[in-house]
Amino acid sequence: MLKRRIIPIQLLSGDRLIKTRVFESPRDVGNPLMSSKIYSDNDADELLILQVERYDGAFENLHSKVIQIGRECFAPLTVGGAITNSEHAIRLFSAGADKVVLNSICFTDPTVILNIANVAGSQAVVVAIDVKFEKGKYVLYSGGGGVSKSVSLERHIDTVVDSGAGEILIQSIDHDGLMEGYDLDLLAFVCNACSIPVIIAGGAGNFLHLKDAFDVGADAVACGSLFNFGDNSPLRAKAFLKNHGVSLKNI
């Protein structure tokens, strides 16, 4: 039986990692290579590395970090941020990535999803969607939370799934970094709207939040602050969740 996953999020900013609150106020949370090694030694199910800034050398920075990390971490590697075409994706696969994450480009040119899926398979393409809850509905944002989009969440999910996305990474900007729990309504909505695996992000503060997300139907939970602020590690999360009936990998 396929197991659920716990995925630490690592936000890459230059040579360091940062953590935000509602996508603002970045704090230094470590060195990307060291941090990846630690997560890998703590039996993380997957490593998720997202380049945060957009500048001329941003992609090359991501690419070089992936090469370094791939040399020493032997767990599935999912990377993104600054990917705008299939050439970027292919270079990242060669560098050691197993999956790539696309976000902003999916609004302007969803055929990129198809192109990458054709080369590497749908399972290698994760589409990330950032949302805020405004005036009673979910508003999508691209550009790291900077640009609001008019397309509805449901419509955008349909578009990316039809274009060949393998997984959805749904992130609540409102809950990001507050450590008060995931947006479970958002999660439920997305799980109902598609049949591909869903990863929830934004808001995990303790292990019970992870359990809640799995109960609602998340295939995987992504955690940033949980592991950076708090005496927690993926290993401890696993032990706790196993005591509460969640099926996680055993190694």
């Binding site: 396929l2 791939g70 032997f74 060669s94 399972q123």
Partner: protein
């Protein structure tokens, strides 16, 4: 000990190369038959499709060389698609013949259970037959899989580990000095690295 890793320009073999290096072994890329003369072990990583990879191997005459390498008794490990081509034939792409080193056929995973394909993620394995490569690997642990097609072994004695997704299919197969792993040991952390290490230490006997 030098480990040869097949590199025919299809897909990313970097993770396998890194994993072998990390465990302390030296490896070289195998791009043509002559390269096989200098290695003690051979790893066949596999990305792409059955028919495409077999076509490439034939173009480079590597298919025959791999079979010769096997007949010398030198250890061979096929990973993922690399395991599948050890079989007699596969239907991915168009129907094509495999290396024929372990008898069996490769077809799409049974979809009647309604489960999405490919089979991606951590799944547990059950031991069917013992094998020296399993030394130090606890029973019932999970490995990382990415596959839409699966192997169907002619002889159950060649199935070492099996997993379940839609149907039961082999996670690891073996015959004499030839072994195949459907999962990715280079992505399966401690247990996967242990298996790779055991392979690099193995003399091919069982």
């Amino acid at each position: 000990m030098t480990i040869g890793i097949i590199d025919i320009g299809v897909g990313n073999i970097g993770s396998v190369v890194n994993a072998v290096y990390n465990q302390g072994w030296d490896s070289i890329s195998i791009t043509k038959p002559e390269d096989l003369g200098s290695v003690s072990h051979l790893i066949i990583p596999g990305v792409g499709s059955f028919s495409f990879i077999m076509k490439r191997l034939r173009e480079l005459n590597l298919d025959a060389s791999i079979c010769d390498f096997a007949s010398q008794g030198s250890p061979i490990l096929g990973i993922c698609l690399g395991m599948q081509i050890l079989g007699d034939a596969g239907s991915e792409g168009f129907h094509s013949l495999g290396l024929g080193l372990i008898s069996g056929e490769v077809n799409l995973i049974n979809r009647t259970a309604g489960l999405p394909l490919p089979h991606v993620g951590w799944n547990d394995v059950a031991e069917v037959n013992n094998h020296p490569l399993l030394d130090g690997v606890k029973p019932g642990v999970d490995f990382y899989f990415v596959n839409s097609y699966c192997f169907s072994a002619t002889n159950r004695e060649n199935v070492i580990l099996e997993t379940e997704y839609g149907e039961c299919f082999p996670a690891m197969i073996a015959k004499k000095n030839v072994v195949g792993m459907q999962f990715h040991p280079e992505k399966s952390q401690r247990n996967g690295l242990r298996l790779l290490d055991n392979f690099c230490l193995w003399d091919g006997a069982c």
